[in-house]
Symmetry: C2
Subunit: 201 residues, 2 copies
């Protein structure tokens, strides 16, 4: 059986990453990696689904055991991507999506050059601002913070293998699957194919 | 308008290249480059459609003017890919397919690193032999020559960017379009996109 592909998947807030993932995960060859965190569960969050909720002691033990693909601290809480779980899913032939912010993504790309990295971009920053206003869940200040953050993230998009602009959801999801399929066809990703074709000739 | 992509497209005899191209050319963003040759037209061949039929003097003049992307001599006749025509179609936004054998393909890849190269492979050499027998248009000797030639060509497939196995026609055509689309999304192929997103923010 072929191994799955590790996919680094990033998008600024408001780029429709969640809706895209919902569509992508309907394909049973794809799954997302569940992160571990030391923060407390919020209402409705389920252990093992939204996050693996673990203690700081356990987290630090796993860091020193090299158990995380990457980890980072935000607002006093630790977040990490469990290495073992990801590798097990890849061995089973699943494509494992790491939904991860840009700094963590770059760490993973450096550590795992075999990863496929995809950045989801808004059509424009102006359109992103319009979407965030329309959503109406944040104050003007928070929106401007998110816009500034998004601009910083888009500026790093060239570090990813592919940039998909999410203008229309279905097109962006199609583009995602096109990229994953094309990557399977790259000659440098299938060194065995030539021998397979020629054998028993 | 975006420029089109130069696509180097090779397949051993019996791999369904012709049928694939027929499907691909239904998409009006794709065209094939018409080669120039010094050989005489065969019955039914149309000048400017199958080939540009030109004299040896004219051919040699164009070689010394650097007018060919690549050229080669087979059985005493010269064959070449006209540079000007290809570039004009690319400028118009057309994806220009060069249907070309492996040695010529490698020359084009070296000369034009911007070209996208795709090799169409049979599922196996055994299956290719079965197809050539089924076609029933060649003698046993000719089939074995083609098989030997195909094996040599498959052995060089790793020099192409992508390898598509033509097992089922529709899947192979889909794979072709997946590759072309994915290539448009590569971050190194769209340096302008980040500036476009951020401007007027």
């Amino acid at each position: 059986m072929n191994k799955g592909r590790l996919i680094v998947f990033s998008a600024p807030s408001g780029c429709g990453k969640g809706t895209m993932l919902e569509q992508i995960l309907k394909d049973e060859k794809f799954c997302v990696s569940v992160s571990a965190t030391t923060r407390s569960p919020r209402e409705g969050e389920v252990n093992g689904v939204n996050y693996h909720f673990i203690s700081r002691d356990e987290f630090e033990q796993r860091v020193s055991d090299g158990g995380f693909l990457e980890y980072a601290e935000y607002c006093g809480n630790l977040y990490g991507t469990p290495m073992k779980e990801v590798n097990e899913m890849l061995e089973k032939g699943m494509n494992v999506i790491l939904e991860i912010e840009v700094q963590g993504a770059i760490k993973v790309m450096n550590k795992r050059p075999d990863a496929l990295s995809i950045f989801i971009a808004p059509p424009s920053i102006a359109e992103l601002r319009r979407r965030l206003h329309k959503r109406g869940t944040e104050t003007e200040d928070v929106i401007e913070q998110r816009i500034a953050q998004a601009s910083n993230e888009v500026a790093l998009a060239a570090k990813y293998d592919y940039i998909i602009v999410n203008d229309a959801l279905e097109d962006a999801v199609d583009d995602f699957f096109h990229v994953v399929r094309a990557e399977q066809l790259r000659s440098d990703k299938r060194p065995e194919i030539i021998a397979d074709i020629i054998k028993n000739s």
